[in-house]
């Protein structure tokens, strides 16, 4: 069994992430995580102090992934507007919802400062970076400079998070795509055509 520790720890984190995404914190029992990970109770308590400790590792990883993906898009090639559009238009698993955003509906996650911190930091960071991109677009003449960067970025991130809510309510990913189309339509007249 030597060398198995890392794999088990890893499987516990990945199983916790999936269950938090599917069922939320309150709906996820330690037993369910152990079963999905194929790990025993002793093994879970060897690697983690308990459910909050394991959930923290899982939430941090989901938050880090979300942030890293957005950062890669924001830092990509193309104009500021290209990168904003790529971020908004990226294909997402709309019906599964956002693994980080859904945690805001988990009262036990929101009530625990340690569990909430990665959720808060991720949305703050993504919104700040998108605002910087809007400001960049305004500064270089791609976007109307009257557009408030922070408010605009907040609205755009909200469209995506709300798009998940509406898609799940309708049972249709099309509704998510429609929300993004609507946001791009609202943005259109702010774009300054060159040449």
């Amino acid at each position: 069994m030597y060398g198995d520790g890392v794999d088990t720890r890893e499987q516990l984190i990945e199983s916790a992430r999936e269950l938090l995404w599917e069922r939320g914190y309150v709906g996820t029992s330690p037993k369910a995580i152990q079963q999905r990970a194929g790990a025993g109770q002793g093994s879970m308590y060897h690697h983690f102090r308990g459910k909050p400790d394991l959930a923290l590792a899982a939430i941090r990883r989901s938050a880090d992934e979300m942030r890293a993906r957005a950062e890669a898009e924001f830092a990509g090639t193309g104009t500021a507007l290209d990168r904003i559009t790529a971020y908004l238009g990226r294909e997402r698993a709309a019906l599964r919802g956002c693994p980080v955003g859904r945690l805001t509906q988990d009262p036990d996650v929101m009530a625990d400062p340690e569990l909430r911190a990665p959720v808060e930091e991720t949305f703050t960071r993504v919104t700040e970076q998108l605002a910087a991109l809007v400001a960049e677009g305004s500064a270089n003449g791609e976007l109307d400079p009257r557009l408030d960067p922070v408010a605009t970025a907040t609205a755009l991130v909200a469209v995506l998070q709300g798009g998940y809510v509406l898609a799940r309510a309708a049972g249709s990913a099309d509704v998510y795509a429609r929300a993004v189309d609507g946001a791009l339509g609202l943005l259109a007249p702010h774009v300054r055509k060159e040449g």
Copy 2:
């Protein structure tokens, strides 16, 4: 104890609504509802077949309220744009989140067609009516007719739902207000100034 039946039924529904809003379906036990309602187990099962039956009454009532409030705003006085702005700008308990939208994160609600129906119908109806208002504004020259009514309405409803998510993540209602400001800023150049 005569005449107490209606009150108890009513208290059970209201308690279930509050708990579904605060803790979601999976986090709400029949016992917790009974305790909050000050009702016994026998009394709950006299009025309802069980938790799903009581939850359905609670969800229907929250959905009906949300729809009725939006309909009143959409049918209010003022131009189409006034009414769109009033709907977006209405003060909401941002940190509590949307009592209907939050149910989309409840796997047991989403998996039960009967429980999901009021959630789906409410968002469909509110989006349709907002789209009709955008179309009205386009038709009477208040709004740029190039604005796609359905996509725009979907994006605007999504901003509100996502605004709740971001406000809860940040622990600040200001973020919700900022998302609405951003949406109004995005809408601004689509407004056709008269005279």
